[in-house]
Symmetry: D2
Subunit: 290 residues, 4 copies
C-alpha cells in the first residue's frame, strides 16, 4: 500500500445489531481506503458494539475529511453510532497538573521531548512552585496557582482559564494531590486522566502506600483512570503492578511505586490518544497493544 498518505483512525460504537461492521468497512472500501488494522468487539452482556480501524487512502489524491465525515455520517445514521475520525498525525493539546512529585511529569516530558508522546503540551499547572524549572527546561509555560480551603473555587477558575486559553483537549493529573470540584469533573468527563498510586478499587483516597503497608500486601500497583466526581472511582484505563515484600516500609513503597506509576500513566495517555479507549457504563473497552 502507498503509505505516504495520511493515516487515519476511525472509532465507532453503537447498540449491537447485524451490519455494524459492514457499514464501516464497506464505506471504507468504497472510499478507496486501505485498512491496516481493525479491531471490533461486541459486548454481549450490554449489547454494545465497538470498533477501531486504522486506514489510509490509496492513491495520490488528498484525503477529503469533510466528504468522508459527511458520507459516513449518512451511512451510519441508521445504526445510532457515536463515531470519530482522527488524523494519526494530529497531536491533541494537553495540560498537565502536578503538585510536588515530579516522576510522572518528568517521564511525560521526556517522552514528549523525544517525540514518543504525540501531544502538544500547552502548559503545566501546579499548586506549588517546585517543578517550575523542569517545565521551563522543556519550554513549557508553568502556572503556579496555590490553593487553600478558602481559595479553592477561585483557583479552579484560574485553572479553567488556562485550559480554555490553551484549547486543552486532554487534562492529565500527573500526581496532582488536590481533588477537583464536581463541576470541574463533570466538565472534563472523558477528557481528564488521573494516576492513582494503588490497584483500585483497593486503597482509595489518601496515602495508599501507607494503607498497603499496614495491610501487608505482597504487590503494589498503580491505576490510570478517567476522572469522575466519585473520587478514585472513575473508569479504569490500565493498571500496572510491582512485587514487594516485608523489607518495604511506606517510604520504600513510595519510592518503588514511582516507576510503575509513570509507566502506567504514559500507557493510558498513549491508549487515549491512539483512540484505543471506549467508555461505556463507567467501564472501558481498550483495544490495547500488548
Amino acid at each position: 500500500m502507498n503509505q505516504s498518505n495520511s493515516n487515519y483512525i476511525l472509532t465507532a460504537s453503537c447498540p449491537s445489531r447485524i451490519g455494524t461492521v459492514d457499514v464501516v468497512t464497506r464505506f471504507l472500501c468504497e472510499s478507496g481506503c486501505y485498512i491496516s488494522e481493525l479491531n471490533s468487539f461486541d459486548d454481549e452482556l450490554n449489547q454494545r458494539f465497538f470498533i477501531r480501524v486504522e486506514f489510509a487512502q490509496e492513491g495520490s489524491g488528498k484525503f477529503d475529511e469533510k466528504a468522508f465525515k459527511q458520507g459516513f455520517g449518512e451511512r451510519s445514521k441508521a445504526f445510532d453510532m457515536e463515531w470519530e475520525l482522527t488524523d494519526k498525525s494530529y497531536r491533541p493539546s494537553v495540560v498537565i497538573m502536578v503538585s510536588k512529585y515530579d516522576h510522572c511529569l518528568n517521564d511525560l516530558l521526556y517522552r514528549y521531548r523525544t517525540h514518543n508522546l504525540p501531544v502538544d503540551i500547552k502548559a503545566v499547572i501546579s499548586n506549588h512552585e517546585d517543578l517550575r524549572s523542569l517545565a521551563q527546561w522543556h519550554d513549557i509555560p508553568y502556572h503556579c496557582f496555590p490553593i487553600s480551603h478558602e481559595t479553592k473555587s477561585q483557583q479552579e477558575a484560574q485553572v479553567q482559564q488556562v485550559l480554555d486559553d490553551s484549547g486543552c483537549e486532554l487534562l492529565i493529573l500527573a500526581r496532582y494531590m488536590q481533588v477537583l470540584s464536581d463541576s470541574m469533573c463533570e466538565q472534563w468527563s472523558r477528557k481528564a486522566i488521573n494516576i492513582h498510586h494503588s490497584l483500585l478499587p483497593g486503597f482509595k483516597g489518601a496515602k495508599p502506600y501507607h494503607q498497603a503497608y499496614d495491610k501487608g500486601v505482597k504487590l503494589v500497583g498503580a491505576t490510570a483512570h478517567y476522572v469522575s466526581s466519585d473520587l478514585d472511582e472513575g473508569p479504569i484505563i490500565t493498571q500496572g503492578m510491582a512485587n514487594v515484600n516485608h523489607t518495604y516500609y511506606p517510604k520504600d513503597l513510595i519510592k518503588k511505586g514511582k516507576d510503575i506509576e509513570a509507566l502506567t500513566l504514559a500507557k493510558a495517555i498513549q491508549y487515549h490518544i491512539e483512540k484505543r479507549v471506549f467508555l461505556f457504563n463507567d467501564k472501558t473497552v481498550v483495544f490495547e497493544r500488548s
Copy 2:
C-alpha cells in the same frame, strides 16, 4: 444477538490490497451473520493481510456451512485468499507425545478433563512406559514405542500409524525428548507444536537449563513453537518466563521451569485451536488474548 446458533470462526490471509476486509465483512453481512469479534492486521513489510472473525448467524435457521464455503470461496477468489471456516464447537483430534516428564501432560489432561481444552485427545504416545497410568486414568489410549538408534525409522512408522488411525489433526510434543525425522517434520508442518524449555533462540538443543545455569542468566523461560526440520527453529507461537537467581542450581531451574512450560504450551494450543495463529515466512501472527 441470538447466540443460540453455532458460532464460527473465519480466518483468512492474502497479499495486501484494497478491499480485503470488505470482501470478508460484506459477505458475512449479506449472509445474515453477526460479527462478535474481528481482528485484522496488515504486515506492511511483507505486504500480507491477516484476518480473524468470530461470528454467528442470526435467526433460527441452521447455518449452511456448504453454501457459506461455496459463496465465500467465489467471492474471495480474486484476492488469492487462503481461508478456513471453523465451527467453534469443533474439537480437533489430538495426539500427545511424551517421554518421562509428565508436567505438561498432566496439565493438558487436567484442562481436557475439566473441559477447558476443547480437543479430542485420541492417544498418548511415549518412548517410555512411565506415564501410562496417568493417561489411563483419563481413559486415553497409551502407546509405548521404545526407540533406539537402530529402530528410529521403525518407531516413527508406528507413531505415524497411530496418527493415521486416530485422524490426528494436531500433534503435541509435550516434552518428547526425541528429534523427529525430517520427513515427519515435513508431513506435520503447521500441525505439530513443541514446547522447548528455554527462551529461544537462546539455549537451543539439549539441556537448556544447564546452559542457562552456566551462563548465569537471571530469567528462564519456555517457547512453544511449530515443529520444523531445523531443530528448535520453528515458528514461535508464544513464550513465557520466570525470574531466577543464584540460588537456582540446574535441578532447581528444571523444577521451577515446569510451571511456565506447562502454561506456555497450553496457551499455544489454545491459540492454535481458536485459530488465532497464522504462519507466514517462518514467523507467526497471533491475535492473542491478553
Copy 3:
C-alpha cells in the same frame, strides 16, 4: 561441605537488640554446623528481629536434635526468642479442604505425586462428592461431610475429628467455599492457609470475579493468606496476578484465574513448609525465593 548429613532449618524471632544474630550463628558454629543459607531482617518500625538459617552438621556423626534444642534453648533464653528447629526432610501432615472446584486440588496433588510438595497428605475433606475420584486416584482418603445451615457445627466436629485423627499440622483451604467458625479459625490460627481469588484487600467475600468484572479492572489476582476469624482479612503470604481486558466476562475471569490461584496457593504452602514465613502483628515476613 559434607552434605550427606541431614539438613536443618532454624527459624527464630524476638525483640530487636544487639546480639540476636550472634547468639544464633555462634551456637551453630560451636555445634559444628555449616550454614548454607542465612537471611535475617530487623523490622525497625516494630523493633522485631527475624532470622532463618539452613544448616547441616559437619562430619559423619548423627545430629543430636535433642541436645541442639536444649543447648540453643538455654543460649537464646535471654533474648526472649520464639524459635523452631525443622528437619528439612520432614514432611508435615496436611489435610486439604475443597468444595467443587478442583484446580487447586489437582495442582497440589500433582506436585505431591511427583515429589515436588514435601508434605504427607492425610485426607481430603469436602462438603461435596465431586472430587472423590481425583483424591482416590492419588490414594488419599476422601471425606464428604455435607453442610447446611443447621448442621454447620456438627459438620465442623466431623472435620475436626479427621484433623485430630490424622495428626494434621497444616490445613489447606483449596477453594473451600464455606466459612469456618470463629472457634475453628482460632484453633487453626497460623496453621491454616486459604486461597482467595482476588487481590486482597480488594474484592473480599463472595464472587470476587464478578465484583472485578463490574469494576472493570485490568488485572485480577489471587491471595494466599493465613486463615483468621475476620473473613479474607488474615495475614497475606503471597499474591499473584494476571492481566485481563474487556473481552473477559465473569465466566472468563473465573477460568483465567484458575492458573494463578493454583500457583499462588502452591507457592504459599511451599514457603510455609520451608519455614520462610513469620507472622507478626497480623502481617508476614517472608524470606521468599524469587
Copy 4:
C-alpha cells in the same frame, strides 16, 4: 536500635568452610554493631561462600572504621576472605558514557537529580554532541570525544583521562554504541556496567531488535552486565523483559524496549552500589530486593 549513627555494609566472600558466618557475626557483635539485615549464600557446586550484612554501631560514639577494618582483617585472615566495608551514605564517583540514545541517560539523571541514585556523577562522555544540553541542565560536565577507526586508541586515552581526573569508581555504559578495547575492559573489569538491548545470550552484537524481529520472538528484553573483553559476554547482573507481538516492527521494538532498558540498567547500578552483587567465575551472586 539507635539508627542515628551511620549505617554500614560489610560484604565478604571466601571458600566454603565452617565458621564463615560466625567470624563475621561474632566480630560485629563484639564490636557493638547491630545487624539490620543479613544474607548469606553458600554455592555448593563451587564451594564458595558469600555474605552481605547491613549494620549500625550502637550507642552515641563515632564508628571507628580504621579499627573495624584492622580488627576484622585479622579475624578473617584464616578464611582467605575477600571483604569490603562500605559506608551506606557513601556516594561513589561515576562516569556515564553514551552515544545518541538518551533514554538510559535521562532515566539515570532523573534518579540522580531526585536523590534516588546515590552516586556522584562526575561526567558524561559521548562520541557525539547530541546529549550535551541534557547533561548540562543537570550541571554535569559533558565531554564529546568523536571516534573513528583511526582515532580509536586516541579517543580511549581521552576517555581514560577523564576517568582518572574524576576519580571514577564506576563506569556506566548507558547505550554507548562503541566497543571498548581489551585493555580498557581489563582495566575496568568489575567496575564497568553495560546495558545490552536483548535477553543475553540471545541476540548478541549489533541491532538485537532487528534480530528479534527476524526471529519472531514474543518477548524482548534487556540485560545489564559487567563489561568484559568478550563482547556481550560479561557477567549478568539483572535482566528485564516485555511482551511483544506481530504488530511490532523493528522500530516499534526499539521504542518499546527503551523503558525496560532504562529500568534494568538503573536496577543493576542500584544493586552494585548497595553491594548486593558478587562476582565469581564469570557469574554473579546478587542478593536482590524483590
